[in-house]
Symmetry: C3
Subunit: 329 residues, 3 copies
């Protein structure tokens, strides 16, 4: 690898490239991350590129929590540099990721929501830490359907019934439920995740490139959406996310503490929430969607905190009061 | 909601409509239920209709156990009022249900078989009580393939291998196996089912209508069968169910106690069976298909009763002897 | 059934045919097995044929471990006798299996790899013994993508993410993981497998033939690949498996002990491995893919043996040392 990246730490071990996203404080998908992704995908498209890539995050609490909603135009402009006309969307960028002549493995710790989830869905495999991985498509709660491939991939992976739960509820899914639904390949204990993924990557890295590419292409031909489908979803998202409803709801989210890419305390809600995650798993699967109807995606976190976290560090009062993070972030 | 219904109890809470089927004694799908469904779907198609609907049954033992086999012509005539020419089938009526501009959630207690299962499959989500939910497509055992969307939906949700188990075996599936196969979103303890579904409904009810409809339409475009596919299945069902084989087998079912819509004792088999369900779940998943080859779908219930129920209230003798229900129904 | 078979033991019980593969010492898929399969599928295509078939293996350790790699041309020539021009492949033979006017059930004990897995995938249902069933598509590790339907069926059954794990990793999957991913219908205890499958078969055998065929045809119309897709995969496999890379890797596999169809000791690796399987299941799911990058599919077995078998009978040293089988085979 020859390019240098602002938000990606890369490391090469034989035929396996590690690409670790590092965009503090929250690993938002903004112009810098997208610019680096465009360059990285270009490098990985070369015939001599590594045949396996492992994607993970330098922040164990945040893989990609969401896009930087204050810079949609900027990151979309960066995404447009990856392809031709009609490709000005994260959806088309992620479609290119799905068709790379390399096998891509996502290693998930922390939360991947919205386009963060859609990045993972474009990878070939997804393995998640059972203790703290969170997947979500909160887009409908904000006011638009997922626009970067989430509709296409989730419907094919989860089937109609579960896709029609995941997308309209905008709820957070933990790793076990994500495994049950097929959103990730498997949920594994955090302590086993690195070894599992490293083993898979090294094993594949020793296999013939031609066979790998031929197999992946054949599987993609059956399972990837068409460019027309991806473009239609992207256009609908871009139209609705700029509408009055989504604009108002986004503004309210910011008031509640959703980070616009700036450091705390504006990101209290997310950072605080994540720091308070329980160290011990509840014995029963959490009720993903017990929330009694708050109008915004983050309403989801209130009952979640109440039921799972309140006994540990959070005050279970409504309206939402973020707990005080341990390390004062 | 302005219409009044003979077999549906409706209640509105904000943006969420509850629709509870109440067609005693067995909640059979007959002309009255279908007439009400046609009217209800019309109401729910209006732009001002509630954006979420919860469907359940007033009878915890029977959601929709099956159609009224003595009134196929009558309920088909009612179904025909929902659409244009070519729509004279439950399949096309349920297709309309699947495309409603509202999010539909089915809450399953008791049994949903045949067109009852197909009604659920046309809803957007399905949640089932672990203790007593039963799903089945017994159509092949009667003499025809499922004709109201079951073939289409089950193949897409379960995959070829499991659809080719569910449909040819005509077997009952309990909630856990239905969750494992993807027939329902999730199996949850009966005591948690109401709160789970109410939470999901209220949450979605607070989200923008445009985003919900756009997301549902996009998911449907990928996952719903075409009208031609639904019509072909309906035509094949209607042809075979009127044939000699199915007619003979239906007559034999009636002799064994299958209800023609009348009250007990003609419905002993179903009512008795349901009343005898165990209050404690067996520790291992029941062998769904232990039945040693009886020619009719109800043969399935014999080993089921033997293995799961005999120690509680049923006499484990062959041929089938329905247990005496507790409340003398 | 009138034909006599060299490698298949058949038995008829009412409407249910049992077909047990018996091609010692390893049940490789070679010219004899394929010749018998062609004849058996012809018999089963007749209007008076049994309506249910159970396939299993006379060797509890090997269903079909793989094809006889020394006789690809010979068994392909046999497969060509099943159809017309363009059908000279196991893929097209297995497609014919998938479209039989009989319901087919595979009962899996031991390993089914490569075309062995693809044979199972062409059956209508698959049930696996939890203790010792192994499924794998090791083709990419050898140097070619699966060519007999595996790409098509696994992508549709498992979804893109899990198909892109199963095929590129070339790993062995045990029954529980195969059930979780949808590769088999269900994993059941070995002691319950026979009764489960016999019950399903007898039950279906009592149902009307017309309804069974109509239901299966309708499900196939949605879920089976087209002939063009199957032929394309077969052509790609045949091209790559004859290439330099695959030829070299196959030769190395033989050196390591992969059986060319001859008896032990050339099959030490497979026979020894299977005989050493643990009689008690580990409490946690094994790490399927812990292998640290050996270049060949059999590298997979090393860590498997280390982690699961070493404490029982195998010496956990690298390079691979097959354990001494108990019965001296």
């Amino acid at each position: 690898m020859t390019a240098s990246y602002e938000t990606v730490i890369t490391g090469l071990d034989g035929n396996v490239l590690s690409a670790t996203f590092h965009a503090p404080p929250l690993n938002l998908i903004g112009p810098e991350v997208v610019r680096d992704l465009v360059a990285l995908l270009d490098e990985l498209s070369a015939p001599t590129a590594p045949r396996v890539v492992i994607f993970d995050s330098a922040d164990a609490d945040f893989f990609f929590p969401h896009v930087d909603l204050t810079k949609v135009a900027e990151y979309t402009a960066e995404a447009a540099k990856a392809g031709g006309p009609g490709d000005a969307s994260l959806g088309m960028l992620f479609r290119k990721l799905g068709r790379l002549p390399a096998v891509t493995i996502a290693k998930l710790r922390g939360r991947a929501r919205g386009a963060g989830s859609e990045f993972l869905l474009a990878c070939d495999m997804r393995f998640a830490a059972r203790e703290n991985a969170i997947l979500s498509q909160p887009d409908v709660g904000i006011g638009a359907p997922p626009g970067a491939g989430g509709i296409q991939q989730l419907t094919r992976l989860l089937g109609r019934g579960r896709a029609l739960e995941a997308v309209p509820t905008s709820s957070d899914f933990d790793a076990d439920l994500a495994e049950c639904y097929g959103w990730v390949n498997r949920a594994v204990p955090d302590a086993e995740l690195d070894e599992l993924v490293a083993g898979i990557a090294a094993r594949i890295g020793g296999f013939p490139r031609d066979a790998l590419i031929a197999a992946k292409s054949a599987i993609n031909a059956i399972s990837l959406p068409t460019p027309a489908e991806v473009r239609a979803d992207a256009a609908l998202f871009q139209q609705l996310v700029r509408g009055e409803t989504a604009t108002q709801r986004t503004a309210e989210l910011f008031k509640q503490g959703l980070s616009p890419g700036a450091p705390p305390p504006s990101s209290r809600l997310e950072r605080g929430w994540a720091n308070c995650r329980p160290s011990i798993r509840p014995s029963t699967r959490p009720s993903q969607t017990v929330g009694r109807g708050g109008p915004l995606p983050h309403a989801r976190e209130r009952p979640y905190m109440e039921t799972r976290l309140s006994s540990m560090c959070c005050t279970p009062v409504m309206p939402f009061t973020p707990c005080v993070p341990a390390e004062g972030s």
